[in-house]
Symmetry: C2
Subunit: 259 residues, 2 copies
């Protein structure tokens, strides 16, 4: 059982397993072989930081599209997504960019491209494990459908909860995991169990073939290297804010040095 790589800068994720066997270890495929030999839609090996921002661009684009805009400049879009325009342009350039100089980007086209790169063409079925407080809230959250996902199954261990319906879905016993995952072709799971159960659940998920996990339990998960884990920990987010509060407080306590 290999160990979780939890090294993402911003503080909440692990990474995919690059360079498994004898790969060059630095990104670029040494001598042009296979480099851009892809038919049409090959993934140009995006930087992780870019990948993490594409969904935000996508959200902003949908807002623009709804407003009826069909062209947007890097400046506008960057503003709407909360980044600066140079970064946005660089990010989009990795997608074999398709803006028009002097004009901007075609909103619809850009939406299609980003959705394609993120693999959102097919709606993805997600399993949710743990229907406590948080799990129920996540199950009830309506916003997924429009963003490429649907929760296809709910699981718990508590016999008292099995059979309950939440947002129209029955809660199933975790023993049914393998069956349902296969049936619904589930590759992504959300863990909303207490920390002490999370590793056991993870092992079960991995055994069923789930290869992406979003973990809300406050603990580190061990997974094989082909499995991706991202983590969301509420208390950690608050603690990071606390640090900045603390710093702001001490900065204003011992005051100015310039004026």
């Amino acid at each position: 059982m290999s160990q979780q790589r939890n090294e993402r800068p911003g503080g909440s994720a692990s990474r995919p397993a690059r360079s498994a066997a004898g790969l060059p270890a630095n990104g670029s495929p040494a001598h042009g072989l296979s480099d851009r030999g892809a038919p049409l839609s090959e993934l140009p090996d995006l930087p992780e930081a870019t990948v993490a921002r594409l969904p935000e661009y996508l959200r902003a684009l949908h807002v623009l599209a709804e407003r009826g805009d069909d062209v947007v400049s890097s400046e506008e879009l960057a503003h709407a997504a909360g980044v600066n325009s140079a970064k946005l342009r660089k990010d989009l350039s990795y997608l074999r960019s398709n803006g028009t100089r002097g004009v901007g980007y075609d909103v619809g086209q850009l939406i299609d491209k980003i959705e394609h790169v993120l693999g959102l063409n097919q709606h993805r079925a997600v399993a949710l494990v743990g229907v406590g407080n948080l799990g129920q809230a996540l199950a009830g959250y309506g916003g997924f459908g429009s963003r490429g996902f649907h929760i296809a199954a709910l699981f718990d261990v508590d016999p008292a909860r099995i059979g309950d319906r939440i947002a129209g879905l029955p809660v199933r016993h975790i023993d049914d995991l393998a069956e349902v995952v296969a049936l619904e072709r589930i590759a992504i799971a959300v863990i909303a169990t207490p920390a002490h159960a999370a590793q056991t659940v993870t092992d079960a998920l991995v055994d069923c073939g789930v290869t992406s996990i979003l973990n809300f339990a406050p603990c580190v998960l061990s997974v094989p290297e082909n499995v991706d884990v991202r983590k969301v920990d509420l208390a950690i987010e608050l603690q990071i804010l606390s640090f900045h509060e603390h710093r702001k407080a001490t900065l204003t306590a011992l005051p100015e040095a310039i004026s």
Copy 2:
């Protein structure tokens, strides 16, 4: 109203306002003045990436402490926190480190130090705005107390909800925000409203003097530069996972090049 800086690499936060007035703009205070003149506990200007990991170390340390360990090596602690040991040691070295060579770190001492740096000595009061699905789940989450926070007040706009009690706390109307924030000395707020309400709520919070916001609404917030915003967006996390799923799928479709 200045714009949100939402530039954190890992994909979910904005940054504190550095270099407000005539500061040198690069980190170090040009000529030794004030540099390490601090009394005892001065914050050594930690890298953001380090700040984001300290809470994870803290969590892991608490687990160790509960097990009765009182010394831990960088290797062990790093493993428990899901990072590698070099990174851990570098991170701890910014805290004017206090491990013992050949031995390891004192668990209790390290907990104290990290808690102090994060400003967790005082329990921090947090306001939660929006008691829908997610808001209720957050309000009911018991794990805060042990990690330095307590939810001190709940707010909503929906008249039907005002007066309800959730986890022992009454839901108050958002018009009472200023009063309660002052009374409870609240500096941190969590936004769990729909996206369309989030900016209005943010403006109200900022007006009351709140300077840190954790935003669960899927939108970008505009805040003055002294206010920190971190963002958690479920759908974005799933979309990032989707990208990696997509990539894994296409990698196994057009298979090996080495063997």
